[in-house]
Symmetry: C2
Subunit: 414 residues, 2 copies
C-alpha cells in the first residue's frame, strides 16, 4: 500500500492547453508531513473513467487526492464520479449552498441553479470549506483509503490544503517530515561534479544521493534513508557542505532551496547595498526575477533594458565610438554599460548583459550564444566573456543566471 | 483501446523538484497528427513499477510513450524496465555506442563504462537517434501497442519526436489533424462571457465547446466533434468569430493560439512602429516577455524599470513635484512616465505601469492591487486606473497583461 496517489482531472491537461501546477506543490507540502507521493494520474473529464480509477485504487493507497472538475458546468463531473468511486450517493449540503449564495452576493451577481451541483456532498463526506471560490472540497473515509476531493484552481486548492488537509494528513500518518537536504551549484557540469565528489557522496551511508541538472546548474539532493540515525544524518550533511564549499567556492551558492535570484535578493537586502541593472539580450528578465520578491524596491534602483544601440548611448551614456569600434556585443560596451547605469543611478552595484541570443544575428567572429556579463562597483569593473549553447530561450536563461552568479560571487568577496 | 497514453518516469517529478514539461507539448504535437492523449502516468524510477505498468497497458492503448530515466547512472532504470515490460531482452547496439563515443570525443571528455548501458536496445527495437544527447530512444512493436522510449531532457526529446516519432505516428493512425479553434479574450469574466454568448455557443452543433479561464483572460475552445462536416465546422467557427468581434471588440484579441505578447509583437513588427516601456511594479516583465520573441529588437527601443522614485526623475525626467504631490502610484506619474520614456527614446509608442503589488505598501486610499497603466503616442496619452485582486504575483501578472492589452487596443485604433 502506498502513502499517497494523486488524480489530476481535466481534458485541458491532456490537450496541452494547460500545465499542471498541483503535483510539484502537493508533493512538497506532503513531504513536509512525511508523506511520499507514489504516483500521479492525469485523466479526462470522464465520469466513468474517474469512477473506475478511484475504485481501482481503493485499498491500494492510504491517501487518494483528486483535483479538478468541480465547476458548475456540465463537463465538470468529478464530484459525482468521486462519490460513485467510493460507492456513495451525493446529498445536498445546505451550509455549502449558503456559502455559495453568499459568495455570489458579494460579487453582486445572481446565483444560478447550475451552482447547486457544487453544494452536493457524498454521504458520510466531511466538507472542506473553500474560502476563495464556490466549490467546496471534501474528505471521504473509505476505510483503508482516505479520499480528498479538491477544486482545480491553485488559489482555491492551496489554502484548503494548508488549512485543512495537511493537519488531517499529519494526524493520519504521524510521521516525521521527510528529511531532504539540497545543495545548489552553478557553473559545473553534472559529470564533473560526480567525478569530483563521487567518492564523498558514496560515503554518505545515511543518505540517498541524487543529482538534478537544469539549464542553470546542478542540485545535489540528499534524502534520508528510512530509519537513518539523526546524528549520522547531521554529520553527513555537514561534511558534504564543507567539502562542497572547499572544492567549489562560490559555485556552491546555496544549502537549501532558495533560488539563485532569491539568494541575490537576500544578500543585497542584508547588506543594505543598492543595485542598478542594464540588460540587453536578457531584455528585462533580471529585473523581473528580482522584483518577484517583495522588498526588492529597497535595493533595486533601476533596470534599463537597452535593446537598441541608440538607447545604450542615450540612456546609459555609452560613447557611440565604443559601439562603432567594438560592437554592441563586446567587453568594452559591456563595461561601459555597467559604468553608465551606475553613474546614472548612484547604485552600489551595477550588473549588465549584452550578447547574441539568436536565432539570427550571429557571425563567425561573434556567434549566436556569445554573451558578455559585467559587474561594476566603487573602484572596479569586471566583464566575463561566455559562450552559451542552445536555443534563444536557453541562451537568455543561462545569461540571466550567469549574470546573477557573477554578482553574487562579487558580493561574497566584497 | 485508447489512442495514446504517456508514462512520465522520474522521482524528481513526484518529489516536487521538477515540473513536467512533456505532457502539454506532446499532447499538442500529437493532436497535430490527429492523435488524442487519453491518460498520463507519473511514476517513480522503480524498475518493477515501470515494467508492471507497461505490461498492464499493452493491448489497452495503440501508442505507449515512455520518457525519462535513460541516463547513465544506476537510478536510471527505464531502459531495462521498458524491455521487460514488452517481454524482451536488451542487446548491445554498436552504432548507438559509436555515436555515444563520438559525442564524448566532441566534448573532449573520456567516455565511461557507465555509458555503455545507454547503447543497449530491446530485441526487435528500432533505434531513434538522439542528436542532442547520449541516450538514444527506440520504437518497439508490441503488436496492438507501439512502444516509444524517449529520453527526459526536452532539448533531446523534442527534436526526436519531430523528426522520427510524428512521421511514424502519422503513418500508423492515418488521421486528419484534430481540428481545434481557439478564441482568446481578456477583460471579461468566464460567467459573463457565458451569459453573453451561451446561446450562440449552444448552436454550434459541429463543435464541442469548452472555456478555459486563466489569470489573464478566458479562452473559448472549439473542438470538432467526431465525423463533423467540414462545411458545418467552417460555418460555425466563422459565425462565432463574427459574434465575438461584434460583442467584445478589442477584448477578443486572437483567433488562434498566439499569446497576447506575441500578438503585440506581431502587430508592432507589421506596422514598423517602435516602442519604449517604463515599468514600475511589473519590474521588467513586459520587456522580458516581448524580448522572448526573436525580432523584438526591430521595435523595442528601451524598457526602463524605474523601481525607485529617484530613478523615475533621473531616467525618465518625471518632475519631482508630480511625485511629491500625487505619489508614485497616480495617474499623473503614470502619464509623466509615458511622456518621459517616449521623449528619451523617440519611440512611436510608450507603455507604462505603476502600482502597488503588495503584500505591503498599501493604504486605505491606495490599496494593494491599485495599478495605473499608461500608453502614449504622438498627440495623445491615456491612463487606466485598475484594481487587481490576489497575491503579489497575481497582481503583477494581471498588470503585465492589462498593459499589453491597452497598447494593443490603441494600436488597433491607430
Amino acid at each position: 500500500m502506498t502513502d499517497c496517489e494523486i488524480i489530476l482531472v481535466g481534458d485541458e491537461l491532456l490537450k496541452g492547453e494547460r500545465h499542471d501546477a498541483h503535483l510539484p506543490w502537493l508533493a512538497r507540502v506532503l513531504a513536509g508531513v512525511g508523506v511520499r507521493v507514489a504516483r500521479a494520474y492525469t485523466i479526462r473529464d470522464d465520469a466513468d473513467e474517474i469512477r473506475g480509477l478511484i475504485a481501482q485504487r481503493l485499498g491500494e493507497t492510504r491517501l487518494l487526492v483528486i483535483t479538478g472538475g468541480l465547476g458548475p458546468t456540465p463537463d465538470d463531473v468529478t464530484r459525482e464520479a468521486f462519490a460513485a468511486g467510493f460507492a456513495r450517493e451525493l446529498e445536498f449540503h445546505n451550509p455549502s449552498w449558503q456559502a455559495i449564495v453568499a459568495r455570489f452576493e458579494s460579487y453582486g451577481r445572481p446565483v444560478t441553479d447550475a451552482n447547486r451541483r457544487q453544494a452536493m456532498v457524498p454521504t458520510g463526506g466531511e466538507v472542506i470549506p473553500n474560502a476563495h471560490g464556490t466549490a467546496p472540497g471534501c474528505f471521504l473515509d473509505g476505510g483503508d483509503t482516505l479520499g480528498v476531493l479538491l477544486p482545480g484552481p491553485p488559489r482555491e486548492l492551496r489554502p484548503m490544503v494548508e488549512r485543512d488537509v495537511l493537519p488531517r494528513v499529519a494526524t493520519l500518518f504521524h510521521r516525521e517530515p521527510l528529511r531532504v537536504e539540497t545543495f545548489r551549484t552553478i557553473g559545473v557540469g553534472e559529470s564533473d561534479l560526480m567525478t569530483q565528489f563521487g567518492d564523498a557522496l558514496g560515503r554518505l551511508d545515511a543518505w540517498r544521493v541524487s543529482s538534478l541538472p537544469s539549464l542553470t546548474g546542478v542540485d545535489i539532493i540528499l534524502t534520508a534513508r528510512d530509519g537513518a540515525d539523526r546524528g549520522a544524518l547531521d554529520e553527513g550533511a555537514n561534511r558534504m557542505e564543507g567539502q562542497l564549499r572547499a572544492g567549489l567556492g562560490g559555485k556552491f551558492y546555496e544549502h537549501g532551496i532558495r533560488s539563485l535570484d532569491r539568494v541575490v535578493h537576500d544578500t543585497l537586502s542584508e547588506r543594505g547595498d543598492t543595485l542598478a541593472v542594464a540588460e540587453s539580450l536578457t531584455g528585462g528578465r533580471i529585473g523581473a526575477m528580482l522584483t518577484d520578491h517583495a522588498g526588492s524596491s529597497a535595493y533595486l534602483l533601476a533596470d534599463v533594458v537597452t535593446y537598441s544601440n541608440e538607447s545604450k548611448v542615450k540612456m546609459l551614456g555609452v560613447q557611440p565610438e565604443i559601439i562603432s569600434e567594438h560592437g554592441a556585443v563586446s567587453e568594452e560596451t559591456c563595461t561601459a554599460m555597467a559604468h553608465g547605469v551606475r553613474r546614472a543611478t548612484g547604485a552600489t552595484w551595477a550588473l549588465t548583459t549584452t550578447g547574441i541570443a539568436g536565432p539570427s544575428g550571429g557571425s563567425e567572429k561573434k556567434p549566436v550564444g556569445l554573451v558578455y556579463l559585467g559587474v561594476a562597483w566603487d573602484g572596479g569593473v569586471q566583464a566575463h566573456r561566455v559562450r552559451y549553447r542552445g536555443s534563444r530561450d536557453m541562451v537568455r536563461t543561462r545569461a540571466v543566471y550567469g549574470a546573477l552568479w557573477i554578482l553574487l560571487d562579487r558580493l561574497h568577496r566584497a
